[in-house]
């Protein structure tokens, strides 16, 4: 990291501060970024959120299915993206459970099952104790095969998942015993950090049977541009990054309050550092351009 940036402006020879700024040692930027995230994290800053249409659409999609209808939740991420996605998962599970939807958990990522388990432990069990495993919810776990898993489930769920994650045969679990294919669900929600994820759910589940169920997705900020083309036709709702999580949390909490608000308030807490860091980035862009203009006016003759 040591080389380039910090001396390239040396030719200006003790010139103005602004012109040299253009070649600022990027480690100062790193330091500023570090501080702008560390300080709000320490101080737990929180700001109000205003639900965007996409978050609202997601909320409405869940609201629009009949109460008690089966919902498939696919956890297509790993701990690396949990910071952004876990708050969504928590809010989504709380939302569905508050409406008494039957929940089927699964994962296309090996470590997605872990995330699903965590969500069951932190949200479903403590706040919805009436949910019985096998009757009200089922954890199918992870199966390898990426989009192949979706394709097979589209035609034959028991072929893909002969048993649930604990090894119990599907036919012994009342909730899923009668399910033949994905059309048994009214809603499929994929919380995904990449491939395979929401995009594959749209392509291989919604593609062959577009009217059988609704698809909603939660995604990391980076994935959102890949999914945008599918919204709102192939995908009814979308939660975008931690902001989407924060907005959705607000919508859910307003209608279905929870005893311990912090359980589904993670997204909003993580929005604190966002504001400061975003302002820093905006400042950096402005600074970079001022430096460029200053440098240009000085070195215009060259």
């Amino acid at each position: 990291m040591t080389t380039t940036q910090h001396n390239a402006g040396g030719s200006a020879g003790g010139s103005s501060f602004l012109a040299r700024l253009g070649n600022l040692d990027r480690r100062w930027i790193f330091l500023a970024m570090g501080l702008s995230i560390a300080v709000p994290t320490l101080l737990k800053l929180r700001f109000p959120e205003y639900p965007s249409p996409m978050s609202k659409a997601t909320f409405d999609a869940v609201e629009s299915i009949p109460e008690g209808a089966p919902v498939l939740l696919s956890f297509d991420y790993d701990p690396a993206s949990a910071a952004e996605l876990q708050p969504m998962a928590r809010a989504l599970v709380h939302h569905c459970a508050s409406r008494h939807q039957k929940l089927v958990f699964m994962a296309l990522w090996p470590l997605g099952k872990q995330q699903a388990d965590k969500t069951i432990e932190t949200v479903l069990k403590p706040f919805h104790p009436e949910y019985k495993e096998g009757v009200d919810y089922v954890q199918l776990g992870y199966q390898s095969g990426n989009e192949g898993v979706i394709k097979l489930m589209a035609t034959n769920i028991p072929a893909q998942y002969p048993t649930d994650a604990s090894g119990a045969a599907l036919k012994d679990l009342p909730l899923v015993a009668g399910m033949r294919d994905l059309s048994s669900f009214k809603l499929i929600a994929s919380i995904s950090a990449g491939y395979p994820g929401a995009k594959e759910w749209v392509q291989y589940a919604n593609g062959p049977m577009p009217d059988a169920f609704k698809v909603v997705g939660g995604s990391t900020g980076v994935q959102v541009s890949q999914l945008l083309p599918y919204y709102p036709h192939q995908m009814e709702g979308m939660l975008v990054a931690v902001k989407g999580a924060a907005e959705y949390e607000m919508l859910v909490e307003a209608k279905y309050p929870i005893a311990q608000p912090e359980v589904i308030g993670q997204g909003r807490v993580r929005m604190g550092p966002q504001l400061v860091a975003h302002l820093l980035m905006i400042g950096l862009i402005v600074l970079g351009n001022i430096a460029m203009v200053a440098g240009r006016s000085r070195g215009g003759a060259r």
Partner: protein, 233 residues
């Protein structure tokens, strides 16, 4: 013949079979079957990877090249993780079959393998991932400079989205009534407008282009026109 014609024939045949299988009911599950094969194949291919990893690092150590100590650290951590994982050392026994050692759960943090995952592997990877925040900032500072129309659009859009992503957007333009003619100037409406209409259009076109590119590349391979994967021993 053995080194060129047969691989091309294999490639062509397997490609054509997969295309046809998509249209035949009983062949629907074929792609799943080959997917399983790939998983097995890549697991077998680890022999190549591990062999290479060993060869490179052992060579570094034996020739005492600069940084050989780090090669030793790599090897030690590699072997430790491999042995505790493959042999399931310290795994938590399966409650249903406590006597079958290899049925145990080796991924809980109570086992050495799970501990390594939780406290070594996971913090390292997520911190590497976290470094991106720093690089995003330095890239924004360095690359977003208004040099021409294109870069002005690039940085202008990023600028708007960055503001709209946080409460600052609401603070600055939230006072504009939602139903007024100027509502489009609100940062949140700008963001929705940009992402839903312009970005969607851009991404659609990119996606259509990529689809054609993928199709053409696949066809070039299947037809045996593109043979760059072949070695020439």
């Amino acid at each position: 013949m053995l080194q060129r014609t047969i691989p091309i024939a294999i490639l062509c045949l397997s490609g054509v079979i997969m295309i046809v299988a998509y249209f035949v009911s009983f062949a629907v599950s074929w792609s799943e079957t080959v997917n399983v094969w790939f998983n097995i194949l890549s697991a077998v291919a680890f022999v190549l990877g591990a062999g290479n990893l060993l060869a490179v690092n052992l060579e570094k150590i034996s020739s005492r090249r600069p940084g050989w100590a780090y090669a030793a650290i790599t090897l030690v951590s590699f072997f430790f993780m491999l042995v505790v994982g493959l042999l399931k050392l310290g795994a938590v026994p399966d409650p249903k079959n406590p006597l079958i050692h290899f049925a145990g759960d080796y991924e809980t943090s109570a086992s050495p393998y799970g501990w390594m995952y939780e406290y070594v592997f996971s913090p390292l990877t997520s911190t590497m991932f976290g470094l991106l925040a720093f690089y995003v900032a330095s890239a924004a500072f360095r690359a977003f400079r208004a040099k021409n129309v294109e870069s002005i659009l690039l940085l202008g859009t990023a600028f708007i989205i960055l503001i709209a992503q946080t409460a600052a957007g609401m603070f600055l333009t939230g006072w504009i009534p939602q139903d007024s003619v100027f509502a489009v100037l609100r940062f949140d409406s700008l963001k929705v407008g940009i992402t839903e209409h312009i970005q969607t259009a851009g991404m659609r076109a990119i996606t259509i282009g990529i689809a054609l590119g993928v199709a053409a590349t696949s066809l070039r391979l299947i037809l045996g026109i593109d043979k760059s994967y072949l070695s020439k021993n």
